[in-house]
Every structure is written in structure tokens, then in C-alpha cells.
């Protein structure tokens, strides 16, 4: 017993006072891309960014802006587009805050990213201090699941925010979906969602759950969960950093800057 206590003391206190204190991310972490369509005018390698992108996240004739756009919902953060751009029109800022409430907000056209807003008042009042989620893993690579699971460890200590993952959809206030929703998991997700009592929330974590990710367009999957559940929170990334997920969850509960 005594050695357990000694070990406990030596291991120390590890939880970060998030969000009052901000995490430090590694220098090579790409984070939020920022684009500047104005720099694209008569580009000498026009289309190189589009060709560099493995998942078609970049368009050069965006219907709204007429120029460059980057869809964070599809992006895998491989940074190949930035490497291909001779003008620096695509730049990765290292900012880990990426979650949004609207799918459309994830399409960057040079405007600042509109981060997630709190839930509508009725649901916010219910879930602000206690949110129980059921996680549904549906056809991804397990990286998003792992970095969601990690929120339970000492560093993040998800429980202190009243957010918890529960074992049954009947006990849940909503579902958190990862993966592109394989055809083989479609029914599983539908049944889980149906079993969660209303009012409820739906959260899509990772490029797969938002757009199909690397499996976008595969007939074996569904290009994400948005066609199956009404998503309240989109957390981009492949896989999103745990801080990105936590930041998104707190914003959804209106506690983004204060905890």
C-alpha cells in the first residue's frame, strides 16, 4: 500500500486548468488552416492545391466567393495543399479550435471561422452542467475514438465538466459519432439514436463523421452521419486533437471561454 502512495505522490498532478489555461501544442501540429483567396490572382501553378488534396477539400471556383475555398469538414490536415501553393494562400495556424455548429461554417472562403455556438436555450438549460453521451463508432480507423477516450484521462479530466460517456443510449442525452458510418453500422447508429430520449444532441467527431473523410464517396459507407442524425456540433480533424474535441464540447455547452 505504501508504495502505491509513494507512486501517487511521485506521479504528481497532471490536469490542465482548461480552458482558463490554454494547452501548448507541438510546433508541427498544423491546426486551423487560413486561406487568402486574394493571393490566387493569376497564380502560375493554378490548380496545384486542388490536385494536391487527396479528398477534394479545395475548390478554386467556389460558387459563393468565386475563388479559393477549403472545406474543413473534408480536410485531413495533411498540409499538402500549403506545400503546393507558391503564394502562401493556404497557411496552417496551429490553432486547435476548430469545432463549428453549422456544416456550412466549415467551408473557409477567407472569412474567419465561426466557432461553435451554445445549444438553443431549451436544451442548453438541460445539458449545460450535465451531458451524458453515448459514443457510436461507425466505420473509421479508431483514431477518433482513441482521442475521444483520452478525454477521460487525468490530463483532460472530462468528468469535471459534467460530461460523461455512458454505457446505454437510454441513459444518454445524445450521441457522439465517429467514422463515415459504414453500411454495416448504419442500422446500429439508427437504433442507438432512436433509443436516446429527446431532447438530445448529436455530435460528429472527425473528418469521417462529417464528410466520409478518406472514405468519402465509398459505396460501403455513408459520407458521414449528417444524413442520419441532426448534427449539433462538427469537430473537424483526422483525427481531431483531444483539445479540439474538448473545446468543441465546452462551446456547445456555452462554457467555451469560462469552463
Amino acid at each position: 500500500m505504501i508504495q502505491h502512495i509513494i507512486a501517487r505522490l511521485r506521479q504528481g498532478h497532471r490536469t490542465l486548468a482548461f480552458p482558463q489555461r490554454q494547452p501548448e501544442l507541438p510546433d508541427r501540429y498544423p491546426g486551423r488552416p487560413e486561406i487568402n483567396p486574394a493571393l490566387c490572382a493569376d497564380c502560375e501553378t493554378r490548380g496545384a492545391c486542388v490536385a494536391a488534396c487527396p479528398v477534394g477539400a479545395i475548390t478554386l471556383a467556389d460558387p459563393q466567393s468565386g475563388g479559393l475555398s477549403l472545406d474543413l469538414g473534408r480536410c485531413l490536415f495533411c498540409t499538402q495543399c500549403a506545400a503546393a501553393c507558391p503564394r502562401g494562400a493556404i497557411r496552417f495556424t496551429g490553432d486547435y479550435r476548430l469545432a463549428a455548429s453549422r456544416r456550412e461554417a466549415l467551408v473557409l472562403r477567407g472569412q474567419p471561422l465561426e466557432l461553435a455556438r451554445p445549444l438553443p436555450p431549451e436544451r442548453l438549460a438541460l445539458f449545460r452542467n450535465s451531458l451524458k453521451l453515448r459514443q457510436v463508432s461507425a466505420g473509421g480507423c479508431n483514431a477518433c475514438e482513441l482521442d475521444t477516450n483520452v478525454l477521460g484521462t487525468l490530463v483532460f479530466d472530462l468528468g469535471r465538466f459534467g460530461i460523461q460517456f455512458v454505457a446505454s443510449p437510454r441513459h444518454a442525452d445524445g450521441v457522439l459519432v465517429t467514422g463515415p458510418v459504414s453500411q454495416n453500422m448504419r442500422l446500429g447508429l439508427e437504433k442507438t439514436w432512436a433509443a436516446a430520449p429527446s431532447p438530445r444532441v448529436a455530435i460528429a467527431v472527425g473528418a469521417c463523421a462529417i464528410s466520409g473523410g478518406p472514405y468519402a464517396g465509398h459505396s460501403e459507407a455513408s459520407d458521414g452521419c449528417a444524413g442520419l442524425v441532426p448534427v449539433d456540433l462538427f469537430v473537424p480533424g483526422c483525427a481531431p486533437h483531444p483539445w479540439t474535441i474538448l473545446d468543441g464540447l465546452l462551446r456547445l455547452l456555452g462554457r467555451g471561454e469560462t469552463g
Partner: protein, 496 residues
């Protein structure tokens, strides 16, 4: 052939199916292992391929036969073929005659050529049943009670005792092998990095070795060392995480919470190297996506030197706590004979005193000139699997410290151009990597234009799920969590 080597397809023996089977059985009888068995089209005709690994000699053999409609099943004499043959039957409709139980594997909608496969609905199979008085079944999944991948498990029980565990997967099937056919396309590396997200480095390395073999590209020593460093960091993170999870499942919270955090530290070291906790973008065809300068290596080494003693302290607490040890010992035992028969790989095999490790037996890259001892244990139970991980943590740390201190000063890439068509045509390449779970096997076949006629992936989990089913026999259902964690297998790597 050797690991990570390409050979012309015409140099592969093409035997009549019966002879093919005899050859495979003979080889397995003489200590070869079935690394892969699959169907692939060659010149419009479907062929059976077997990749046999002779661990003692470090050589690989490829054999082939026309697939036809049916061939004599290998499984009755060679149980390690059982899942491969079910896969062949399910995907291609080629029947292994005499296979004891042809159940679906991943319930695909299409085969690798994109043609529709008419199979049952997901989860619908003729499972083994527990009948008679006192016999009952407990079914769980696909959605589980935690943040875990989906899969369906059926415990066939008599009272409290599990007679057998039926494992039915396929829920993570997303058609990667189909999408790879005709490639490599721009998503190639993304597919490889997400075959099993926790094995990004292992699978990406296996894939790049194949491309490099097929294009005759020499990777600079600096990149080889960088890849090996990333591979061992991946092992540290996952082994630490698994030991923590084992502690959690026996209710020993100190180790579980320490190791949960320490696993994150190891992941952050990988993130220090490439920006991603899972190592995305680190391994690239021809080398690595980043360079590893001495200051960065030194930063990681210092972080490791600080964290590793804490990791060991947390692990050692397990062994000095009698209640933990008594839960681990004699739980979920697999005999050496069964491990060999089922063709288990990696930690699961080494825990049963099967001394195989790709880093030792088929060394390529940095492992060709820097050896890592193989950790084995004898008892084949949860304790043995935990102990092997413990030893491997120590070995990997030593390797890392050494290589982070002495980096070769040279380029990190050979300037590989991953365009389609510059791969050797009509060739086959096999690439093995010892991922943290065990042997990863990738087989690439190119057609006359240098595109993939087939790309076969065998995740270590594909071999090892049957080991878990075996471990559960005559255990209690309540032992399932620790047995499961002690194998720590991938669903997505199996389902592809």
C-alpha cells in the same frame, strides 16, 4: 524472396490447385507460417496466392494456383488458414471444399474489383450454438458500452462457464481493398494510415516498403532510422495504454490512471516529430515527410528520459500487487500448440513461447543493423501477454534512446515520385512490419501497366481474433474484458 522485395509474377510457381494445397501443407508442417492467403486477378484470371513465411530462415515464399470455382480446403490440416479461406469464399465465391465452417467474415457489399457480392445482412450467420440443459448464450454488440469499435460477440455458456466465444465482425468495413485496386491513387497513403489508426506508422511503413520495392527506390538511412523511431514510439504508446487498460479492468486504478496519462506523453512525442499524435504524414514513400534534426531528437529523448521511469513505476506496481497478479495469472490461457496451429502473431504469439518477431526474423530498414531482443513468455495467459508488453517497453526504450542520441546525418527522402505507372509491371511485392500488435503483411500485385491489380492487407488482428476466442474457453464471462484487453485487437484493421 526477402522481406520488402518485388519479384515478377511469372517467377511465382503456378501449380494445379491440389498440388498448391499439398505444397502449402508441407511448408506449414516444416515450420512455415501462412502470412497471407488470398485471391487476386492475374491477366483476367482469378488466382490463389499463398505467402509463406519461414521465420527461422528469414525467407518468404509465394505460391499460386488457378482459383477456379473450388479447391480442396487447407483448414482441416492447417487451422491457420481458416479465416483466409472464409474470406476467399465470401469475397470471390471460390469454395474451399471441406472447410469445417464457412461463416462470413466482414459482410462486404462488393469485391475488390467493385462487383456486387450477394451475401447475408451484417451479423446474420449460422453461429455455433449452446444447446441442452444449462446451455445459454449471451450476445453483445455491435455497439458496446464504452468508446470502442463495433463488433458482435456471442458467448456460448454452460452456467457461468464459457464453452466458446463466437466473434462476428465486419461493422467497420469501408471498402479499402476495393478502393486500392487500380492505384496507387492520391489517397493511397491516407488509406494506409487509416487501416488501423492506432497503427498508422506500422501500416504506412509496410505500404511504403512495397512502393519502394516496386519502384526500386533506395531509402536513405536517415529516413529508415526515423521510421524505426516512430514505430517504436507507436509501440510504447500502445503497450502502455494496454497495460493501463488491463489495470482498469481488474479495478486497479493507480496504474490505469498513470498509464493513461503516460500513453498520452508517448503520443505527444510522436506529435513532436510530425505534428500528429498518431504519426500521420510521418512516413512517406521514399522516406519521411519531415526531417529529424538533432535538436528535435534531443527534445524527444529528454522527454522520454523523464517519462519512462514513471511508466516503469506504474507497470511495476501491477506485479507487486497480489490481487492484480492473481487476476492475471491462469486467466485466458492459450497453449503453445494452439498458438502455432492458429498462426498467432505478435505479442499474443510471444506470450505462448512462440519466438517470432519480424524485426528479428525479417529485418529491413534500421532493424537490419540494430537488433531488438525478442521478448517471450511461457504461460500464454493474461499475465504472459502483460509481461511481454512490459519487456517490449524496456527494449523499445533502449532502442529509442540509442537512436535518438546517434542520428545518421543524411537526407530524409530519396525524392520518390508516387505517380501511377512507375511501379514495376506484372510484379508482386511483400512487405512485413512488426507493428505493436504483431506482423503486418501487405502484398501488392501490379498489372501490365504498373497499377495495382490487387492490394492485400493482413493486419495482425486478422490472425489473432481466433486466439481470443480460444483464450475464452472454460473461462467466465467476467474474464472477457481482461482477456480482450490482453489481446487488444483491431476491428478496423480486420474489417478494412
Amino acid at each position: 524472396m526477402r522481406n520488402a522485395q518485388a519479384i515478377p509474377i511469372r517467377s511465382i510457381p503456378l501449380l494445379p490447385a491440389e498440388e498448391f494445397c499439398v505444397e502449402v501443407l508441407e511448408a506449414v508442417l516444416h515450420e512455415a507460417r501462412l502470412s497471407a492467403l488470398f485471391c487476386a486477378p492475374v491477366d483476367g484470371e482469378l488466382r490463389l496466392f499463398a505467402i509463406l513465411a519461414e521465420d527461422r530462415l528469414g525467407v518468404l515464399h509465394a505460391l499460386s494456383a488457378p482459383a477456379g470455382q473450388a479447391y480442396p480446403s487447407l483448414t482441416p490440416d492447417c487451422p491457420q488458414a481458416h479465416l483466409f479461406e472464409r474470406e476467399i469464399w465470401e469475397t470471390w465465391g471460390v469454395t474451399p471444399l471441406g472447410h469445417p465452417w464457412l461463416k462470413p467474415v466482414r459482410f462486404p457489399a462488393r469485391d475488390p474489383l467493385g462487383r456486387e457480392v450477394l451475401g447475408p445482412e451484417i451479423g446474420q450467420a449460422r453461429f455455433m450454438e449452446a444447446l441442452g440443459e444449462g446451455g445459454h448464450e449471451v450476445a453483445v454488440g455491435p455497439v458496446h458500452a464504452g468508446i470502442i469499435e463495433p463488433g458482435h460477440f456471442r458467448f456460448l455458456c454452460h452456467g457461468e462457464d464459457v464453452l466458446h466465444l463466437e466473434i462476428s465482425l465486419g461493422y467497420q468495413h469501408r471498402g479499402i481493398e476495393r478502393a486500392l485496386t487500380g492505384g496507387p491513387d492520391p489517397r493511397f497513403l491516407q488509406y494506409m494510415q487509416t487501416l488501423a489508426g492506432d497503427t498508422t506508422i506500422g501500416h504506412a511503413t509496410a505500404a511504403c516498403q512495397n512502393l519502394e520495392a516496386l519502384s526500386g527506390c533506395d531509402v536513405p538511412a536517415g529516413a529508415l532510422v526515423f521510421r524505426a523511431i516512430a514505430l517504436e514510439l507507436e509501440r510504447l504508446a500502445n503497450h502502455a495504454g494496454d497495460l493501463g487498460a488491463l489495470a482498469m479492468d481488474v479495478g486497479f486504478l493507480p496504474t490505469s490512471s498513470f498509464l493513461g496519462r503516460i500513453r498520452g506523453d508517448f503520443l505527444n512525442m510522436t506529435a513532436k516529430l510530425c505534428g500528429s499524435r498518431f504519426g500521420r504524414g510521418l512516413v512517406k514513400p521514399g522516406g519521411t515527410g519531415f526531417d529529424l534534426g538533432q535538436p528535435r531528437a534531443e527534445a524527444v529523448r529528454a522527454h522520454l528520459a523523464q517519462v519512462f521511469p514513471q511508466c516503469m513505476e506504474a507497470v511495476e506496481l501491477l506485479w507487486s500487487t497480489p490481487s492484480v497478479v492473481s487476476r492475471f495469472e491462469r486467466t485466458g490461457s492459450v497453449s503453445r500448440v494452439d498458438a502455432l496451429a492458429l498462426g498467432l502473431v505478435g505479442v499474443a504469439a510471444r506470450a505462448c513461447d512462440v519466438e517470432i518477431d519480424v524485426r528479428q526474423d525479417f529485418p529491413v530498414g534500421a532493424f537490419a543493423f540494430s537488433h531488438i531482443p525478442v521478448a517471450v513468455s511461457q504461460t500464454g495467459d493474461v499475465a504472459a501477454r502483460a509481461f511481454v508488453r512490459h519487456m517490449e517497453l524496456l527494449h523499445s526504450e533502449k532502442f529509442l534512446t540509442e537512436h535518438l542520441t546517434h542520428l545518421p546525418a543524411c537526407a530524409n527522402t530519396c525524392g520518390f515520385q508516387a505517380g501511377v505507372g512507375n511501379l514495376a509491371p506484372n510484379s508482386l511485392a511483400v512487405s512485413l512490419v512488426e507493428g505493436w500488435r504483431g506482423e503486418i503483411c501487405h502484398v501488392a500485385l501490379t498489372d501490365a501497366t504498373g497499377r495495382f491489380a490487387a492490394y492485400k492487407v493482413v493486419d495482425p488482428s486478422f490472425h489473432n481474433w481466433a486466439g481470443l476466442a480460444m483464450a475464452l474457453r472454460n473461462q467466465q464471462i467476467s474474464d472477457f474484458p481482461i482477456c480482450n484487453k490482453s489481446f487488444s485487437l483491431s476491428y478496423c484493421g480486420h474489417d478494412l
